[in-house]
Amino acid sequence: MAYRVGNKCIVRRINDKKDVPPELDESVIGTMRINPRSYKKIWNHDMVDRTKYALAGLLYLLLRERSIGNIAKTAALVLALSLWLRIDLVHGVLIFLSFALLWTVETLNSAIEAVVDLVTQEIHPMAKVAKDVAASATLVATITASITTLIFIAPPLYEKLKPFLASP
């Protein structure tokens, strides 16, 4: 069964034969043969919808997620520092890339947390594994971003602060 809501998204019931486990094709092109639309209730089929939901997710993160706010503050601080120190354009782009990576991982982390909360209400070991591993992905991205920032910010900052440090 499939039907329209408004003229935006198409709603479709999940396959009724739930009890029969479907046969999986384990070859390389087996995954390609699976049509996700036959399992989805709703999907976005135009660019406007996709952009709208992406913006909605961004707003949600900015209002609800504390770590995104921290990253935004840190990014503003690093931006101000790099403008003050007049670092190279290439160095600035690399710092920007590392912060983009951090932001992406934080977003994916929130998405995984939401999926876990959606799937189960109980306390389950695999829920812990999923949430912890997603959190450590953000730790890895934080380490990468800090090292990249340190490589490019620390030497010019030291040069800038040298007269103040060497005064006594």
Binding site: M1, A2, Y3, R4, K8, I10, V11, P21, P22, L24, T31, I34, P36, R37, Y39, K52, A56, L59, Y60, L62, L63, R64, V90, H91, L94, S98, L101, V105, L108, I112, E113, A114, V115, V116, D117, V119, T120, Q121, E122, I123, H124, M126, A127, V129, A130, K131, D132, V133, A134, A135, S136, A137, L139, V140, A141, I143, T144, T148, I151, F152
Partner: protein, 159 residues
């Protein structure tokens, strides 16, 4: 794909949550209403859980051990050949992408295993697509590493 244009109110009523479909609708949802556990109280406990996840990965994931070896090898190469800051940062960033992909992949796998015990095509799609994200990241990392490290390595070896 048959598209039936007639809306069926009865089936729509099966969903008991009213979803606000505007751009601000998502931000109005309070995640704590749906959680079984409360959100992390402070930054220290967030950090604790991310370290716990990392220890889990080192304990249970084969690919992380291989990735650690590759990372140590590349880091030693970076230190041995004194290459520029920008080149080192590029290699580090691409390594970071692979690590991040590996962790997200494991998280997705855990979510899928949590969600269902059955054999399901969508579970296969989720796991395969997450795995191919890691593969793409690995290819790009290898490409970046080879492009950046080969010239100084050849110089150092005197070839």
């Amino acid at each position: 794909m048959t598209k039936n244009d007639q809306p069926d109110e009865k089936q729509q009523g099966e969903n008991n949550h009213d979803i606000d479909d505007s751009v601000l609708g998502t931000a109005r949802i309070d995640p704590n209403e749906f959680r079984s556990t409360s959100a992390n109280p402070d930054r220290l406990s967030s950090f604790k859980y991310s370290v716990a996840g990392m220890i889990y990965m080192f304990r249970h994931e084969q690919s992380i051990r291989a990735l650690t070896l590759v990372t140590l090898f590349i880091l030693m190469l970076l230190l041995w050949l004194d290459i520029g800051n920008v080149d080192a940062a590029l290699v580090l960033l691409s390594l970071g992408i692979v690590w991040m992909g590996e962790f997200i992949n494991s998280a997705v796998e855990a979510v899928v295993d949590l969600a269902t015990d059955e054999v399901h095509p969508l579970a296969k799609v989720a796991k395969d697509v997450a795995a191919s994200a890691v593969m793409l990241g690995t290819f790009i990392m290898l490409l970046v590493a080879v492009l950046i490290l080969t010239p100084p390595l050849l110089d150092k070896l005197g070839i």
